[in-house]
Symmetry: C2
């Protein structure tokens, strides 16, 4: 395993200082030492990225697609070494890691297929009308071009699918943007292995030097310098609200501000409507006990808030949820920092006035573990107490019992932006609670009916985003092919000689793609 | 003419203080007094906008289209009163105002036609696969929804097309967003007339109270409060870099940041390549003397920088441009502030070391007028002196004479983001200067060949935007139908009962629109 920073096709020992991974199950250091990057490494990586930008963004899509496919192949070729390393660094079960590896390689291949279609450049042509009165109309054509070098911050909770070769990196590569990744310090070995896989793929498919770099750091310095560097044109981040907002603020204070796409999690409210509870509170309780504790609650779509209206059916649900949660077990969280933050934040909520424990795993948690817990609060307290709105990253949920429909509406109306919102109800429930559904729709990126928010399908109709603070930009998704739009910008070409136009815009339509020609979609030449 | 602030369907006298328009030709106050808005007006306007948001955004597009069409009709019905008032407040010639009015009503009707097509919601459907292994695939559907209330700042240089009922307002209305406009204090009467036209149109087409408000202010206070208000979800602005950046910074310091779409102008570099100068320096000189002085240089696409390589052909062009510019006349600028800023900024550049006047109108300017001027600088000075990169809003251009091709490339490489970049050349020129074209393409929103940057065609292939500081977000256009994308966000619907889905996503495709169904475009039901 390479222990140095990857700077294009070179390596750097950086500052000479080292960092190590920690096995969260044993809370002991793993033996390998990784080189902490220097400011020179930041500058070298982004200088090379800038040099790679034109050849990489202007190459034929098929070639760039082969790079994405080669990355997927190289990741698979790492075999059990990668699974073992990821497991050692994150405490995640092997089955979950293998599933996530499949999602990661699936994303890479999906984007390869997508860019091969070539129509993602959104070609548009308006032909000239030289004799138009009062002034002639000139020939105008437009398509999407890559933004430039992108900085990606690996997330801790998806060490493969939202880390070095994860969704942000894949979308940026697909768009034609070189990528500099800041490895998450909680999984340096996983990052090094995947980074080497990307480097190998880049060499095998003859990508320009600088298309990819990987830097290690366990402080905020390298991240700040990456976002501040003048060559950086966009940032992808998945993580905490504090971290994402800090990067957003740095990016917006630059002389030339750049977009930061930070996906910062969410409390993913769930509304439990009365008739559904009457009909099937038992299965809802079991489904939610599972969703709350899935992956020790370490998903950004974990259901952190449950809302119901006081009734004997809600009391029955509470009892059923308690029973279901009692038999779950505390488990090791991704790293000690997350484990400690979970204890602290869940305690903070439990210490708020009139909040009490409703349901809990009967087993106490050891240090670094998350103990599944559901707390109980009142609707009027929720509306008035911002502390109860805060995300507790882990297997924690707050059940808010509302006095009536009006209080439920007030609760939903008090919510900030969310990745998801879920409504559990019968047909009659939906009819009776249209306002609640509407208030939820205004606040979320994805509205779910009779399901759980965990489980993010990777397909064109998935929007994984949402109003702030779920993300820093509600208009873009972090999952699925449309996530490429974050790293593209339109450019118009006016009165341009045919041979100087990008192929997508040439008269003959040499790529055979769908284009908007004088306002109508067409596959033909102009 | 209504002199009060328009707050939905009500009026407010605001603080009791007044502002007046000024005739820039005479530099004397116009008699009408307009009421300066209060903080209460800001809050009332945005409270009503929030109340109007759901009914307005969820109404049938055809109804919203009729509102846009009615605005165009009402503006036309203002007839000569509007033309006269705009002329009195801006000093613009009637022909230009009538042309701009046509562009304004044209934009309104273009957006009406566009939203009637209904496919702008980008409907996408991925149907369920209940028996998929290892986990079932759920039904997911996605479409664009309106962001929420939008604040628009009228620009001074387009008192109709980028002011109260201009491009930003029209795109926001089309998307389904209520709009609160801060009137530009340089044309309060024009703003009042157009504001009343929008109000009339809203009433006639039964739009919800609060869909539109118009506030007057001649300080920065009301603008700041509008951007800071918690109901505001996006901001449209056309104006100076200083003003746009200030609003951008306010918006990003909010507890929940919101996007600011600021179009802040540009120096619009033009590269004059050698063979073209050999072949036709005379016509280029005449075309550019016209483009530099068009509308007293008060267009954001005014060509502020001309680049050439030293040669006897460039000398001849300089002489021809001087001759052409000599016969142009100084003219009144939009208001005294702009006139004074023009004098100061052009003097600043002329006072830079080794910069000299190359060409100038032989007539001296009176106060408030802009005197057409082209200055001359050296390539190496341009690269090293940021002062020479600054926009001078008005009929001013800087010709940079480069020693050679390498210095020309260094000049282009030193440019910041631009709305446009232009290359004047022959086929051989383009072949010999591929690097310059590539460097320009990376920095601009629109690349023009053998033309002038002034004149912005309103059509789907027009991108009016560009990297910072041309705009605050290179990914969105301020002109044309795609400018609607600024005010939309995607929302996914998971496992949603058919009758609860928006019509665009229902199984039967009741709107008959093109949809992405399981990754393929389709007009049929699912």
């Amino acid at each position: 395993m390479e222990h140095r920073n990857i700077i294009g096709y070179d390596f750097s020992e950086g500052t000479g200082q080292k960092l190590q991974g920690v096995n969260p199950k044993t809370n002991s250091f793993l033996p390998e030492e990784f080189c902490i990057a220097s400011s020179d490494d930041v500058n070298n990586a982004l200088t090379k990225a800038q040099e790679a930008f034109q050849p990489f963004s202007k190459m034929d899509c098929l070639k760039r697609a082969s790079f994405l496919e080669a990355i997927a192949d190289e990741i698979e070729a790492l075999g059990n070494e990668l699974v073992q390393r990821t497991s050692n660094e994150t405490g995640l079960p092997n089955a979950q890691i293998i599933g996530e590896r499949g999602r990661t390689t699936g994303q890479l291949r999906m984007f390869a297929t997508f860019i091969k279609r070539r129509d993602w450049v959104e070609a548009s042509i308006d032909t000239a009308i030289p004799d138009r009165e009062p002034i002639p109309k000139t020939d105008l054509r437009k398509m999407m071009l890559a933004l430039g070098p992108v900085v990606v911050f690996g997330s801790s909770n998806f060490p493969l699918a939202y880390s070095v070769a994860g969704g942000d990196t894949t979308a940026a590569f697909a768009a034609g943007c070189p990528v500099v990744v800041k490895a998450h310090p909680a999984h340096p070995g996983t990052s090094a292995l995947v980074g080497q896989a990307i480097s190998n793929a880049a060499k095998k498919t003859a990508m320009p030097n600088g298309v990819f770099s990987l830097l290690f750091d366990n402080s905020f310095n390298i991240g700040r310098e990456l976002v501040e560097h003048s060559n950086t044109t966009a940032v992808g981040f998945t993580g905490s609200l504090g971290g994402g907002r800090a990067l957003f603020d740095i990016a917006n204070k630059r002389p030339n501000p750049i977009p930061v796409f930070a996906e910062m999690g969410s409390t993913n409210p769930v509304v439990l409507l009365p008739e559904a509870l009457t009909e099937r509170s038992d299965t809802i309780a079991v489904d939610y006990a599972t969703s709350i504790t899935l992956g020790v609650g370490q998903f950004c779509t974990n259901p952190g808030l449950l809302f119901g209206i006081k009734s004997k059916e809600l009391d029955r649900f509470k009892s059923q949820l308690s029973t279901a949660l009692a038999t779950t077990n505390p488990d090791t969280m991704l790293h000690l920092g997350i484990g400690n933050a979970y204890s602290k934040k869940s305690d903070n909520i439990l210490n708020e006035e009139s909040v009490e424990v409703l349901a809990q795993s009967t087993t106490e948690a050891e240090q670094g573990q998350g103990r599944p817990t559901v707390a109980l609060a009142k609707g009027k307290d929720f509306v008035n107490n911002p502390a109860l709105h805060e995300e507790v990253f882990g297997p924690f949920s707050l059940l808010i019992a509302c006095e009536n429909k009006a209080e439920l509406e007030a609760c939903i109306n008090s919510l900030q932006g969310q990745l998801t919102g879920t409504v559990i109800g019968s047909t009659a429930d939906f009819e009776n609670h249209r306002i609640v559904i509407e208030l939820l729709e205004q606040r979320v990126g994805r509205l779910i009916f009779n399901g759980v928010p965990t489980g993010v399908e990777v397909c064109p109709s998935m929007h994984h985003g949402g109003p702030y603070p779920a993300t820093t930009d509600a208009r873009f998704t972090a999952v699925g092919i449309h996530s490429i739009k974050r790293f593209l910008r339109p450019v118009s070409y006016q009165n341009t000689p045919n041979e100087l136009l990008p192929k997508a815009l040439q008269n003959e339509n040499p790529l055979g793609i769908m284009r908007l020609v004088n306002g109508k979609y067409s596959l033909t030449s102009v």
